[in-house]
Amino acid sequence: MAKPVPQPTPTEQPFYDACARGELALQHCQNCGHRLFYPRTHCDQCHSTDLVWRTASGAGRIASYTVVRRGVSADFEAPYIVALIDLEEGPRMMSQIIEADPEALAVGLSVTVDFAAWSEEITLPVFRLHPALAGDHP
């Protein structure tokens, strides 16, 4: 076993290309204005295929979180924090919150995106508590 690493489809590739540049990219629907996550061929609101990539701010809030005490496999060293993040632009995504004190976490707190290499080819978005909240944790 190794950590699962995405194998992007052509549709998804721009998302991972942006991650490699240190940007969080979201699809915007040119027909209805909806912002999508995860990447799709069709808007999940109006089903238009007229989707363009835009860079997101990288700011979000914690919708929920858990400290995983027993990792899913030996490749994940517990404890680690899995969270659902509500992005400023609207979509929700799963991610990890890194380098945070579990005691400092709460639903609704502000987070900002960062990026971490998952393999030689794939970089994924992760999140940190907003600097104003992160306290003294390294």
Binding site: M1, K3, P4, V5, P6, Q7, P8, E12, F37, Y38, A63, S64, Y65, T66, V67, V68, R69, R70, G71, V72, S73, A74, D75, F76, Y80, V82, A83, L84, R92, M93, M94, S95, Q96, P102, A106, V107, G108, W118, L124
Partner: protein, 390 residues
């Protein structure tokens, strides 16, 4: 939507369970074969009298054409034979498909049969990885969520929104164990306290190991036919009074609402089809894969106001002697949880109680039961209302 096919026209006439818990001496296929045959015999029939089989594949022994393989093993050539999979909701969705198949003339009498052996035919790590593989391969699994972690996200959101406490979740586990203590077959029978749950090993905060269902082996099957064909059997027929489904999403990160599930839709449809209400339910057999799932189903199926599931569970109303008996076999938290077949044991327990065959744990006057199953991470829901004539 209301399912017209189940409006009192179909009945369960046979049922069987395998040994449950730790069953290393039979493979999932062998367990499925055994309960298929035993359920047919329980109905007073032989395989010659049954012309349909619906199964669910097993994680521990996947078979490309599962139902066909089970029929072949028995030298049986049913007219209708299909494998379905909607995760933990397969149980009652398969039963609904069986009723629909009978209504459509595809078969007259069908066995719905499921078994798996997550405990003895997989390592702990294999069972963990295969179950967590329901996560999105690109947008969830890379972050290392476990199945308990998915439910922990739901639990934390419910605590934040409604003030629900870890002790209120734990009350569900205590209640299921109190019932399991009365069942000689239950995998875990030693009574537990709230403190036992709260002090058990942390798995994914706020969930502890005793908030999580068991990892088990086992199988169960039921036989369904049209009600007018059901009256000659050895047991009281159990009537399917109502059924409903709700499908909200597949991956938890795509849920529009973390604290209200599509059990709202499945429950409403089942109540509408049966003409009954939550107050009419004498017995509840809900899907207790994790304690927060149980608590949210209680709310979404209408047993209390939204957000009050914690108080409702902590009141003791579901314990032996309480007015809303819940998971009287012990549920997946304490009786048996072999993966997708888990809710079958809620169904077989409901049938047992409604037949009056539950021995020392027999309840009086159980005329209606609500059975609920769900697949994914509170993703898809199936609600089934059963009745028995006195």
């Amino acid at each position: 939507m209301t399912n017209m096919g189940l409006g009192g026209e179909f009945a369960l006439i046979g049922m069987a369970e395998s040994d449950v818990g730790i069953v290393p001496d039979k493979s999932p296929r062998e367990l499925c074969v055994q309960v298929t045959l035993d359920a047919v015999h329980d109905a007073g029939l032989t395989l010659k009298d049954v012309d349909g089989l619906i199964t669910c594949n097993a994680f521990a022994e996947p078979i490309m054409y599962h139902a066909e393989a089970v029929a072949e093993y028995l030298g049986w050539q049913p007219r209708h034979c299909v494998t379905v999979n909607t995760g933990g909701g397969t149980t009652f969705m398969a039963l609904n498909m069986a009723a629909a198949a009978i209504a459509a003339g595809m078969a007259d009498t069908i066995v719905v049969s499921m078994a798996d052996s997550l405990r003895s035919f997989m390592t702990r790590d294999q069972a963990m990885v295969v179950q967590s593989s329901s996560g999105h391969p690109h947008y969830e699994q890379p972050y290392g969520p476990t199945v308990p972690a998915y439910y922990a996200l739901i639990a934390r959101a419910h605590m934040d929104r409604y003030g629900t406490t870890e002790a209120q979740f734990a009350a569900g586990a205590v209640s299921c164990r109190a019932w399991a203590a009365q069942h000689p077959k239950a995998q875990k029978r030693d009574p537990i306290s709230l403190d036992d749950v709260l002090n058990s090993r942390a798995i994914a905060d706020p969930l502890k190991v005793l908030d999580c269902s068991l990892v088990s082996d086992g199988g169960a099957a039921v036989v369904i036919t049209r009600k007018d064909r059901a009256k000659d059997g050895p047991h009281k027929p159990i009537t399917l009074l109502g059924y409903g489904e709700g499908h909200a999403y597949e991956h938890i990160s795509q849920a529009k609402d973390l604290t209200t599930s599509a059990a709202v839709q499945s429950g409403r449809a089942a109540y509408a089809a049966s003409g009954l209400t939550p107050d009419d339910m004498d017995l509840l057999q809900l899907y207790d894969c994790f304690t927060p799932a149980l608590l949210i189903q209680i709310e979404d199926l209408g047993f209390c106001e939204k957000g009050e599931g914690g108080d409702w569970l902590a009141s003791g109303i579901t314990l032996p002697g309480g007015s809303k008996p819940l998971n009287t076999h012990g549920g997946m938290l304490s009786y048996c949880h072999p993966g997708n077949p888990g809710a079958m044991f809620g169904l077989t327990e409901a049938i047992t109680q409604m037949r009056g065959d539950a021995g020392e744990r027999q309840l009086s006057d159980i005329k209606t039961t609500l059975c609920h199953a769900q697949g994914g991470i509170m993703s898809s829901h199936a609600s089934l209302i059963l009745g028995v004539e006195s």
